[in-house]
């Protein structure tokens, strides 16, 4: 009876519970204080919200979009939480990565954060998670800003947590803060313009009004500010400069979590604004995508991959690789076809999984050897074969070797480009894989065939790190072997965003 009532309650408030669980758990962590207990609370919260997101995904897949009015105020006046094919598809990724990152953090955070401050760390992590989930699920644009800032503020703190070991983390966090705030402010200015033009903040309502009203300069200003603001958050090419430092100096668990989720959520916001809110009705909007976003995406792929090749620090290398990967997703979005969009979504999930696992594996390497510099890791493949195998498997995913998730992403993007008749784009995407081969293989060659340093001391890697890393890697490999679920989810999302365009390909 009680169980039934609980289930009913959960079913009814599912959209808000997804955010609420981590949001409530965060102060709970703060209060609890004991690091073991906080860890347990945080993990439980992330697992719960993961379960909820999965339930939400199933619900949306089965019954279609789900609307929830916060506090009972109906949209467009109240704040609406709205789960549709797109965000129900992204949500499990965020919560899922958190579910892996938290156990991983337990094994690794001791290096960065003093035991008595770990409750703070966990609550920041939960806040960040809550913010990201909130951004994704809310149906109100200003609410997006608020959640974005919640997650951003939490992530500045999280990045700064790496300062215990390397003081450069402070500076990285500071830069991140400045840039993130500028981005968020741009975003909020854009929202202001939108509100000026339409008088509403609800996404569905905005979309409706913008579709009927002619696009004037105000809307275009809004578009410009939002594009740049979100572009900054997702590390679009010339706005990416905060990212390498932030990812390199943050604690490993944070890097893994942020790399797999933060930029991905920003991409989601971009997709949401481009396709739902603006709907690309104005030729100017499409033009901007074609003339600005697409070239920037491609420049990003090539430039960032090239930079990654020359990096000596593995974490930095993969951070640059993340910038390059964001380029792939941007080009997919800029294709403006259901296939392109689906490709981007597949890429978001697959890259999230792969990069998360990769940063976890690299974290293990760093923890065991005390360095992430490639020149100090010669021949490490002989002493840590399994960790190297994990890095190799993830790296192959970045290159796009078959049976990895990256292959599916690349497949989807290339076939989307071909379908759209963009031969050169397909070629560029594939050519850039060679650059990925370049940096992945630098690691493999140095680690497996370099002369090992005999005096190196290898510290044992706690199982708490090994299991999540391999678990996430396994998930990513599974996504490469059985891509049907992700592909279908992405296709459904793309279809729902571009209903006027049919003919969805693989």
């Amino acid at each position: 009876m009680i169980a039934g009532a609980t289930a009913g309650f959960i079913a009814k408030h599912l959209p808000v519970l997804v955010v609420l669980v981590p949001l409530m758990a965060a102060p709970a962590c703060l209060i609890t204080g004991n690091r073991h207990a906080t860890w347990a609370i945080a993990t439980l919260a992330s697992w719960t919200s993961f379960a909820l997101t999965v339930a939400l995904f199933i619900r949306v897949a089965g019954q279609g979009p789900l609307s929830y009015s916060l506090g009972g105020w109906a949209a467009p006046f109240g704040i609406e939480y709205r789960a549709d094919a797109l965000n129900a598809f992204i949500l499990p990724l965020i919560a899922g990565i958190a579910s892996f990152a938290l156990p991983y953090a337990r094994g690794s955070i001791g290096r960065d954060v003093e035991p008595r401050q770990q409750n703070l760390f966990y609550s920041a992590l939960l806040l960040c998670l809550a913010g990201l989930l909130g951004v994704t699920i809310t149906g109100d644009v200003f609410n997006i800003f608020v959640f974005l800032e919640i997650s951003s503020l939490a992530s500045y703190v999280l990045v700064a947590a790496g300062g215990g070991r390397d003081r450069r983390a402070f500076k990285a966090a500071f830069d991140y803060l400045i840039m993130g705030t500028i981005g968020a402010s741009f975003f909020v200015i854009g929202i202001g313009f939108l509100y000026m033009a339409t008088g509403t903040l609800n996404i569905a309502d905005l979309a409706h009004r913008l579709a009927t009203a002619p696009a004037d300069r105000t809307v275009r200003m809004a578009y410009g500010f939002i594009l740049v603001g979100i572009g900054l958050k997702l590390a679009m090419m010339p706005l990416h400069q905060w990212l390498p430092n932030a990812y390199s100096y943050a604690p490993p668990a944070v890097t893994a979590f942020l790399a797999a989720t933060a930029t991905k959520v920003s991409l989601y916001v971009l997709i949401r604004f481009l396709y739902t809110v603006f709907g690309l009705d104005d030729p100017f909007e499409a033009q901007t995508l074609k003339l600005l976003v697409m070239p920037l995406g491609i420049i990003g792929i090539f430039a960032a991959s090239t930079v990654a090749i020359f990096q000596n620090d593995i974490r930095r290398m993969f951070a640059w690789s993340s910038i390059a990967q964001a380029g792939y997703m941007l080009t997919g979005i800029a294709l403006m076809t259901p296939q392109g969009l689906a490709a981007s979504l597949v890429n978001i999930v697959n890259h999230g999984l792969t990069k998360g696992a990769l940063f976890m594996a690299v974290g293990m390497l760093t923890l065991a050897t005390g360095t992430s510099r490639l020149s100090d890791l010669r021949g490490i493949g002989r002493t840590m074969p399994w960790t190297m195998a994990a890095i190799l498997a993830g790296g192959l995913g970045l290159i796009g070797v078959p049976l990895t998730a990256g292959f599916i992403s690349k497949w989807a993007l290339v076939s989307a480009a071909l379908d759209a008749g963009q031969w050169w784009l397909a070629g560029a995407v594939l050519l850039s894989s060679l650059l990925a081969l370049g940096y992945v293989w630098r690691i493999v060659e140095t680690a497996c065939f370099g002369k090992a340093d005999e005096t190196r001391v290898i510290e044992p890697v706690p199982l708490a790190m090994v299991i999540p890393a391999w678990g996430l890697l396994a998930v990513s490999l599974y996504a490469g072997v059985q891509p049907a679920l992700i592909m279908e989810g992405a296709n459904a999302a793309a279809r729902s965003l571009l209903p006027h365009l049919t003919g969805v390909g693989g």
Binding site: Y156, R167, K171, I178, T181, A184, S185, R373
Partner: protein, 126 residues
């Protein structure tokens, strides 16, 4: 000409928004001192507040308080509400930024960006 002046004068607070925004950004771009950067950021954010509040202003409108009189024109309250949230966010950001500046000062002994960059350059292993 008169139109132009009226247009400029009529959009006075929007012009202030633009000027503030540019000032804030300029400070962020040009000043090496981290605290000054945060200050610039603050000015930048303030410009956003101004922008929202101006947006909600209805010409001739009063404060959005329900007096019961019919036909009364009042300003749009929603942007004001929103900006309250934004102010909170701004404060939080400033707080975190300042906290970081403190930690940077502790570990580097300076909050001048070029000094810190120099330290980084010498720190980086060959």
């Amino acid at each position: 000409m008169a139109d132009l002046i009226r247009s400029i004068a009529g959009h006075y607070n929007y012009w202030m928004f633009v000027i503030l925004m540019m000032t804030g950004l300029f400070i962020v771009v040009s000043r090496g001192n981290l605290i000054k950067k945060i200050a610039g950021l603050n000015i930048f954010q303030t410009s956003v507040f101004l922008f929202y509040i101006s947006m909600g202003k209805v010409t001739g409108g009063t404060a959005p308080v329900n007096t019961g009189r019919a036909g009364e024109v009042y300003s749009n309250p929603l942007p004001h509400v929103l900006i309250l949230t934004a102010i909170v966010v701004g404060i939080a950001t400033t707080a975190v930024g300042l906290a970081l500046a403190v930690r940077i000062k502790e570990s580097y002994g300076s909050i001048e960006e070029d000094v810190i960059e120099d330290m980084h350059r010498t720190e980086r292993p060959a």
